[in-house]
């Protein structure tokens, strides 16, 4: 390990925290995950192949840690407020994207997703990984990535205001 390994790792931390936040539904639990993942990465730095993508490697470590933790606990770490979970079209109102309530509902919806859907959503829609990269990280077929992503998005779309409403707003 040379100093670049550590500096590259530090550069990645904001993205790792975002991913772990989406995965765990909690800032604190997410940061615990990132910290544990960094410890594991430094311990296993020799396994990292320079020139390959460190972000994919770290995301895989985080998801493994998270799944290990979940298997041990057998319960969700974060408590979900059932009032915030909106899976109907109730969110089809003309809320603005920056509306705090909308963002709360987005988080609650993501939180309520099954683990496997949430992982794919976070890797592709949030972190911008390709289907192939997500499939490699999760060690599942590409087709599974696509179908999980589609199902996850189906839960999110009711929270998005419609383009028609948006167009009307613009043209008023």
């Amino acid at each position: 390990m040379d100093i670049r390994f550590q500096r590259d790792l530090v550069d990645l931390v904001p993205r790792l925290r975002r991913f772990a936040y989406a995965l765990s539904g909690s800032r604190d639990v997410g940061d615990d995950l990132v910290q544990s993942a960094c410890e594991r990465a430094l311990k296993n730095a020799a396994q990292f192949v320079p020139g390959t993508r460190m972000d994919s490697w770290m995301f895989r470590i985080i998801q493994n840690l998270w799944l290990d933790q979940r298997r041990r606990l057998r319960v969700r770490g974060a408590q979900i407020d059932p009032d915030l979970v909106v899976l109907s079209d109730e969110g089809l109102g003309a809320r603005q994207a920056e509306d705090r309530a909308t963002l709360d509902k987005v988080r609650a919806t993501v939180d309520a997703l099954p683990e496997d859907l949430r992982l794919v959503l976070a890797l592709v829609a949030l972190e911008g990984h390709s289907y192939r990269e997500a499939a490699d990280i999760l060690e599942i077929p590409i087709g599974t990535v696509m179908s999980r992503l589609s199902r996850a998005r189906a839960q999110l779309l009711p929270l998005v205001h419609t383009p028609d409403q948006r167009t009307r707003t613009w043209t008023q």
Binding site: R15, R18, Y21, V106, S130, Y131, M146, L156, H161
Partner: protein
């Protein structure tokens, strides 16, 4: 007939997973199919919502506990720790490299004269003494406007110990990053120094920083690290032992 494109293809289009020809076909299709265009728009919106919902970490400094995990350092005095918190947080500020990259007055000095530092550190910082005697971490530099952080120590392929440092000068709004190596005769020489003017003053509050656009920190010093054949970063105890032996074997 108004055929609707399958959702999987539209998803892949939004995710950039289609080859150029297939993507072009979708673009043509969307022009004539408002329902599919609306679906694509909503997917994009959903992505934007996700980014907003979980975006907070992207504009925050790296938490100290995570930073300490990545860069283990010996404990410093409470006063030094207080002084250092701003500098440390600044050093790890997301987007900080953008300041470097966009600084119009950036200056890089390479291959400096052997035997001395070819530039004067700002303020009351005695860089040579710090490099020689201090372990990595923030260095107490008194009450002046400039602050020094020793980032880490490694051995070059020729066996010389080298250290990365950073100096922030609030008064001059400058940031200096460098790599210095110690010769066998005990002289620290800069291998590379990068001075840039900061676009904005250093935030005085602990940890709360104005976000900037991101980028990698590695590019500035990497060529020099490659040239030096930088080895593993020394642990705090290895570094401390070397300093105690006055960098001797």
């Amino acid at each position: 007939m108004d055929t609707v494109m399958d959702r999987e293809t539209l998803d892949a289009f939004v995710d950039g997973a289609l080859d150029p020809e297939a993507a072009a076909r979708v673009v043509v299709h969307l022009a004539d199919h408002p329902a599919d265009q609306a679906y694509v728009d909503r997917l994009v919106e959903a992505g934007a919502l996700l980014a907003q919902a979980y975006g907070a970490p992207m504009t925050e400094a790296v938490p100290e506990r995570i930073r300490a995990t990545i860069f283990p350092q010996p404990a410093s005095s409470p006063a030094a720790a207080r002084r250092s918190s701003r500098l440390r947080a600044y050093y790890l500020r997301p987007g900080r490299p953008a300041l470097v990259a966009t600084a119009a007055a950036a200056l890089v000095l390479m291959g400096l004269a052997i035997g001395r530092m070819a530039w004067s550190p700002p303020g009351d910082i005695d860089l040579t003494v710090a490099l020689e005697t201090r372990t990595s971490g923030p260095v107490d530099t008194g009450e002046g406007p400039a602050r020094l952080l020793l980032v880490g120590t490694f051995l070059a392929s020729d066996g010389r110990p080298c250290r990365e440092y950073e100096i922030l000068d609030d008064a001059a709004r400058s940031q200096t990053r460098g790599l210095a190596c110690r010769s066998g005769s005990g002289v620290w020489t800069d291998e590379v120094v990068h001075v840039s003017r900061l676009a904005a003053p250093v935030d005085r509050s602990d940890g709360a920083f104005v976000p900037a656009e991101g980028g990698g920190t590695s590019a500035i010093l990497d060529p020099t690290l490659d040239r030096l054949g930088a080895g593993m970063v020394l642990t705090p105890s290895e570094e401390d032992a070397l300093i105690r032996r006055a960098w001797g074997p």
